[in-house]
């Protein structure tokens, strides 16, 4: 095992990594920006080193300063957490060049899954379904043939596009010609490039992701998480397992293991899928890092995922066989963000003057906030995660409601997403598992 790890991140994930390191007997060096000098992971770490001003570009994204910090503190490993440099292949490479172990996948792993087109190709190679679609369309004729082949509804997307612009859903062949022309025109206007392609339109999908661990020799899955409760592609509440039928769940996790094995994946990773109402699943992308919502998987499996990342990186290999990983009960996580749900989730930071996290049976708290802590404005608004476990989904929901009812995070001008989560948990559609990626837009807006 490593002697000393540099934690190249901040907030709750920095604390999460610190805890894993401490349990493994690894000394911790917290690399931190000036704005985070008073943060809990810095206070708790064995050593702390300032790596730049508040701006992430100059601190948490500053590769030379991070590597220098690792070198001068004598760290033999770096854990990147999530976000920032976690999926930066170059950082992983440079870390290795300095004789320091990067706790995460190989740069090759990252590059193979780094862009969507390559990831799609690799998934097809591995025999894992992706959303059926075309390359750039040459014209109407090709579109008609492809759409007939894929089946309606389909969606037209701009090759150069993103963020929903230039997209157009088509429900039958009669509308296709006009839609193609309009989409091309929109694409030209918006991106200066009329090129479009066509994909199957997955209606009201669930966003379900599979947690895997690999050591380069073999890959195991730790079941799936349902992350359909999203607002503008930001996950807000996650649960494990999903409410999918058992045969779909089984297909999903097997597909995930197949793909991750295909590329000899190392470390913890997550494969994201869309699942339609008929239980068809389509691979979208892989996140080559630990994720915010990993605790719900830990709650149902009892596996410490971050500790496993350390062990795999230290060359100890996977300790668990697939048979030994058993999911039990149901877990839910809510993200407590310093945002005002009443005002379009705009950041609402400040000083935490009263803080009371819930406790008791089946409740876990991951948070770097303490009474008197001032939330810095330069970073994301996640200030804590409340995670609960219950014998079944119903118990988990009741427990989360109970936990949030006793949660107090208060300060002058400080608002959090807790009241919003309470409403989600009270929603009848949510309670019966009728959750799709449009849940918040459709069920939670007045």
């Amino acid at each position: 095992m490593f002697k000393k790890v540099l934690i190249a991140n901040r907030g709750e994930i920095a604390l999460r990594i610190l805890r894993a390191a401490r349990e493994l007997g690894v000394r911790t060096v917290m690399a931190h920006s000036k704005a985070d000098a008073d943060s809990l992971p810095v206070l708790l770490a064995d050593e702390a080193i300032c790596i730049g001003p508040a701006s992430p570009q100059q601190s948490y994204l500053n590769i030379p300063n991070l590597l220098s910090a690792a070198i001068i503190s004598g760290a033999d490993a770096i854990h990147p957490g999530y976000g920032f440099l976690a999926e930066n292949a170059q950082f992983a490479e440079m870390t290795a060049e300095h004789g320091i172990t990067f706790i995460g996948p190989t740069p090759e792993n990252m590059r193979m899954l780094g862009d969507k087109a390559t990831a799609r190709r690799i998934a097809r190679e591995a025999g894992v379904p992706v959303v059926p679609g075309t390359d750039a369309l040459s014209g109407i004729e090709e579109a008609l043939v492809a759409a007939a082949d894929i089946g309606y509804p389909i969606i037209l997307k701009a090759s150069a596009g993103g963020g929903g612009r230039g997209m157009r859903v088509v429900h039958n062949p009669d509308d296709l010609e006009n839609a193609v022309l309009q989409a091309q025109e929109e694409a030209r206007a918006a991106f200066g490039n009329p090129e479009i392609y066509l994909e199957k339109y997955v209606e009201e999908p669930k966003h379900v992701e599979v947690q895997v661990l690999g050591d380069g020799q073999r890959v195991v899955h730790l079941w799936e998480r349902d992350c359909s409760i999203q607002r503008r592609h930001q996950k807000l509440l996650e649960e494990a397992p999903s409410t999918l039928p058992d045969d779909v769940r089984r297909g999903l996790v097997e597909a995930a293991v197949k793909l991750a094995s295909h590329i000899g994946y190392i470390s913890a990773g997550t494969l994201e899928f869309l699942v339609d109402r008929e239980g068809n699943y389509y691979f979208i992308e892989m996140n080559t890092r630990i994720q915010v919502e990993h605790p719900i998987t830990e709650m149902i499996t009892g596996v410490d995922l971050v500790a496993e990342q350390f062990r795999i990186a230290a060359g100890e290999g996977l300790r668990l066989s697939q048979d030994e990983i058993e999911a039990r009960g149901h877990a839910i996580e809510v993200r407590v963000n310093a945002e005002d749900p009443e005002r379009n989730f705009r950041p609402s930071i400040g000083k935490v003057e009263t803080l009371l996290w819930p406790g008791g049976t089946g409740v876990r708290i991951d948070s770097h906030v303490y009474t008197g802590y001032t939330i810095p404005s330069q970073y994301d608004s996640l200030i804590g995660k409340v995670i609960v476990w219950g014998g079944d989904r119903e118990e988990a929901i009741r427990r989360m409601k109970r936990a949030l009812a006793e949660t107090v995070v208060d300060g002058p001008g400080l608002k959090t997403t807790v009241p919003f989560h309470k409403k989600v948990l009270d929603n009848a559609f949510f309670q019966r598992g009728a959750i799709y990626t449009n849940f918040i837009a459709r069920r939670m807006s007045e």
Binding site: A37, L43, A45, D46, E47, A48, I49
Partner: protein
Amino acid sequence: MNPKEIKAILQAMVATETDELTLETPDFKLSVRRSVAAPPPPAPVAVASAQAAPAAPAEAPPPAVDNAPAAGPPETVDAESECPGCTEISAPIVGTFYRKPAPDADPFVNVGDRVEKGQVVCIIEAMKLFNEIESEVSGIVRKILVEDGEPVEYGQPLFLIEPA
């Protein structure tokens, strides 16, 4: 004993980093205690630099955790009190601090030297690159705060320069 005299004593205490002073004469008794030089109480707030320190008065102290940073950021240097009127040159990058261009060479600067704005005052080695650090002001070097060969973190004060 008049205020001016007391002020002179206090300034003298600052200059000499004295914490407490008691003076008794047949006419009067004067006792002064300063706590700036003493390591501030256990609360690891102390790691914050003076510039970053929050101004709010009713601060609830951050939890005083047992294992506070062992090799955490070095103690804050307040240029004002260390050397009134001085300007700080601080580390713009993380790395190892060198006062000399080569092991057998002379230091770039010594205490008492005059430096010009833009003059190289030290080197910080980071990732095998030797980065020359230039003075941001012209003046006299009053204090060198880091030992040759020591690791420095971002923002750590290196020199105190009295502008002149």
